[in-house]
Subunit: 355 residues, 3 copies
Amino acid sequence: MSTKTNAGRFFEDFVVGETLVHATPRTVTDGDVALYTALFGGRFAPVSSAPFAESVGLRAAPLDSVLVFHVVFGKTVPDVSLNAIANLGYADGRFGVPVYPGDTIRTTSTVLGTKANRDGTTGVVYVRSRGVNQHDELVLEYTRWAMVRKRDASSVPPSPVVPELPSGVTPSSLHVPFHIAPGTYDTALAGSPFAWEDYTVGERIDHVDGMTIEEAEHMMAARLYQNTARVHFNQHVERDGRFGRRIVYGGHLISLARALSFNGLGNAFAIVGINGGRHVNPSFAGDTIYAWSEVLAHEPLPDRTDLGALRVRTVAVKDRAARDFPDQLESGGYDPSVVLDFDYWVVLPTRRSLR
Amino acid sequence: MSTKTNAGRFFEDFVVGETLVHATPRTVTDGDVALYTALFGGRFAPVSSAPFAESVGLRAAPLDSVLVFHVVFGKTVPDVSLNAIANLGYADGRFGVPVYPGDTIRTTSTVLGTKANRDGTTGVVYVRSRGVNQHDELVLEYTRWAMVRKRDASSVPPSPVVPELPSGVTPSSLHVPFHIAPGTYDTALAGSPFAWEDYTVGERIDHVDGMTIEEAEHMMAARLYQNTARVHFNQHVERDGRFGRRIVYGGHLISLARALSFNGLGNAFAIVGINGGRHVNPSFAGDTIYAWSEVLAHEPLPDRTDLGALRVRTVAVKDRAARDFPDQLESGGYDPSVVLDFDYWVVLPTRRSLR
Amino acid sequence: MSTKTNAGRFFEDFVVGETLVHATPRTVTDGDVALYTALFGGRFAPVSSAPFAESVGLRAAPLDSVLVFHVVFGKTVPDVSLNAIANLGYADGRFGVPVYPGDTIRTTSTVLGTKANRDGTTGVVYVRSRGVNQHDELVLEYTRWAMVRKRDASSVPPSPVVPELPSGVTPSSLHVPFHIAPGTYDTALAGSPFAWEDYTVGERIDHVDGMTIEEAEHMMAARLYQNTARVHFNQHVERDGRFGRRIVYGGHLISLARALSFNGLGNAFAIVGINGGRHVNPSFAGDTIYAWSEVLAHEPLPDRTDLGALRVRTVAVKDRAARDFPDQLESGGYDPSVVLDFDYWVVLPTRRSLR
């Protein structure tokens, strides 16, 4: 019997402090960008148009922030979450240099902590993943934690190590590689008249539209990121699984929610930080996804007058409109329609940047 | 309650003479071309092959004419037809310079006319849309009219303005950016032996093949063009709508019919004008589309011996073969299988151009 | 009635010794590569990463070998197999120079043999197809044979000509355009620690994972290759056909099996020869595909110390795991789950090449 296949790491295999070098480096191209557009329909202008990207100080249209996230994340799956039951959360995410077609992305992950669960069969693993380009420049780093199966229920787990995670990324630590000359940001072409100053803390926005997910779509997306998690692809196994069908990659919901958020946040053209995120419920083909957002914070950027930052929480729900903002319940649980609660920093042009 | 989302223009919002600047500029790439090939399977040689494109006088393989149409059209949706009930027709369309991967397309539309319907709840809006590249060169202009909801049934409409629309584009006004040296057009590589002279007015061609539409396909196509019309994407709403399901973007049928028409019109490698077009019936995922064409006119091009023009009407039908040419009925209606009636100009090499 | 459409060649139309020039040349791009990744999720490092490709002596990331096969094959369909009932087999396949984005592929086929079947309605046609790039350099040549309908059951067939086909390609005749400096092949980035020397003849590998096929996926794939075989696309006809549904292009199974084989053959980064292949059973949307492989031969390459060759047979099965290696039966038939039996040469780095 050959032992040449990768069975994935089990809980026992993660050693705190160890750094994992992930396969497979990925040269991203215009082709990936087109597919991402076809899958989600994004309309943020600097991502869609090279001349518009130049007007915000970039040399070309960069990859969408969330596409970068997926490529960096995808590489970690064979080493981190092949035997995961659930992807529990994200924290402390910072984007670095923009990623352009032609760049090559690699990812490494450092094990920050492990903590066995009381049931004896699983444990939580915390990793900090770091994606870099071909010049070893950081493109994204973030922490995630997942519930991973133990190989052997009787194995004695190491002492728990739980990393301290910040409740958010401070605006001053965000990397903002965009620069806008006064009066040059074209709101007509961008599709939204609203500047950073027009948003207020506590403001809630129903993004109105809904988008139905198809099996071919979420599988093509996950394969595009070389995400190999089995539950997304194998109906023969999943029909007898917990849900009777394939589960949509959680990140697919981030992309859908982000694309829907254009209607209301049209000038929030880049995500620059991830404060936290949770996949509250699973999604399946046939689900129609809606989203709403809440402005959590409204912060200037140090020494910058062209752009400001908004901390936004976007909630994605399924099979119901979001006009009444389905949310976390007072009991601590969530409205059953909620599938994603994602907390992140975006940048928007200030009024003085607008044409 | 936030008012940051775009609710779309209603009938009352259209002012004759006004020009709308549409978001979002779109840099088209090899990725868009590959997706378009994957969605429709086009085989017109100059679009498929860079060396073949050079043999017809282009610097590279251009985007398919219909893909250019979709990108130009897609931009108009958020401003023109978000509250449309029906896309009623097209007229007077002229293609301009070829579009190459790397070009950036923008669209503006001028309101040509408005006319309230007697029911008081809707009206017809006529716009002329103009797509340009990053050098402000025209890539396509055309007129379309749509039935748009009124915001308020009791609002008093302005006096009707109905533009005079030509019944067709005259061959002498067509822009034909292709040039073929005598004896250089390779019919074996092109896949068809027939020159412009081989077609006769009145000739009808059954394009034989049928293609079934899937939900994932028409949604990926519409998103690729950043077409945001809601009826294509939201099964949660549409299951309770008029048809109980999502409606396929009408332009998808143009693309399918055009790709099918290769079998019979293989050397008609570019559409250069649109005389008119109507979406006669809606299409849905699961429909199998066939097409047939009729040659309406056979015209030389001014001062050109390398290429000639054919005016062609292509009719797309669903769930039945087209061998008996289902068509408009004497009563004025259409055979119920017809979904598209599209009247356009194509160019083909003359005999002296053939190798 | 127009006679401008291509009805495809029937058995009587094939003349031994004749060479067919196939339409449509195809310039392949980064877009095709991205779509292929989205459809199959391949992870072989030199295909995924430009810097990794350079580390094996290439100037850029090449197209996956099997994608090249599909593009070369697709061109032959309108001339060879439009009236085929079954694609019976492949033999004697050799890959040539790598194909890079921007290259243009053309195909010609020479008729090697024809042999009428006793039933009088069909015959077997043998062709040798040759794909070249824009510099007329060979990218792939292979022989295939298909069962093709006769136009007229009463026509008298020519004397049978059956070409002698080798049972395999000899390693010394393989073209291996890769070069690895000692100690430079990065197994961590490649995702597999195993060198050529680590595999032994007779070793069998269960590739573990399963992938479910969707209608939109196999149709997009076949159209990407401009493969026009009708049975893949037309549900309206196929619902009344032999299987009641569309049949998946057999080559789709080669791509799926090859992508799944990464888990166990991760450093077998290129197919360089095809010894034989059979589509044992048809596949349909909804099937979940698994694969296993057997090492048939382990051969050094002449005058090469950086790379060695493995002859591998990969068997794809549907709707059952491959852990017990479903295979050909002693009776000569196959286990009913088997859909593909594919015998090919791959190259892998030797131990001295590994970092």
